[in-house]
Amino acid sequence: MKLAAFLSDWRRTEDSLERIKAEKLGVILVGNGIYHAVIKEGGKDSPVLSKAGATFYALSDDLETRGYTAANVNSKVKLISYGDIVDLIMSEYEKTAWL
């Protein structure tokens, strides 16, 4: 399946993302999920970013709301807008999952 998975939390309370398999997987960081794109806790990337085969996105509005800018973002993560999320949902992926 082609799945767009949304993460909106920093401290997660599920392990669904780790388990899900998808031939095409987008991980879209929104809300407090954007911290996975900018924080290196204990000097390390967030484990979220090690999900194999996934493409990572972060919503720039939510990044800037929290005081971060493009300069802080992990090179694995692409910054996107609300309009980009619409295109990802409607064209690139077939299913969505808000985890």
């Binding site: 388990r19 899900i20 299913k95 808000w98």
Partner: protein, 137 residues
Amino acid sequence: MGAVKLLFVVQRPPYKSENPRLALTHAIASQTAEIYMDEGDSVVPTVVLVGDGVLNAVKNQQAMKLYGVTSTESHIKNSLLIDMPIWVCKEDMARLGLKEDQMITDAEELGAELKTKFVSYADIQKEMESVKHLLFF
């Protein structure tokens, strides 16, 4: 469109959030959705309890007695009564030390024929792939 398959995925324990309950009540509502649909259309829901969501299926919940609120157990049993599949992930039960005799296995007292299905995560993955829409709670 014919029959559209939906998968309701409950990932978290009951009561601290309304969402596991809403997953069940929304899934049950598929029974009456016909009034809004064209002739021949229908929705076919399955509810899976996965991760800590398996805690929703622990039996003997006393929510009504102690808090005056319908228990999640009661929603699960009503689901079985209307033949809506309830799947519980076996690996997560094992991880949390839950045995089958602690779990809601059926709703025979209500006259339900369907029983809870204890499945492996691989079955859940397969179902995620086969449905049209996913609803994570």
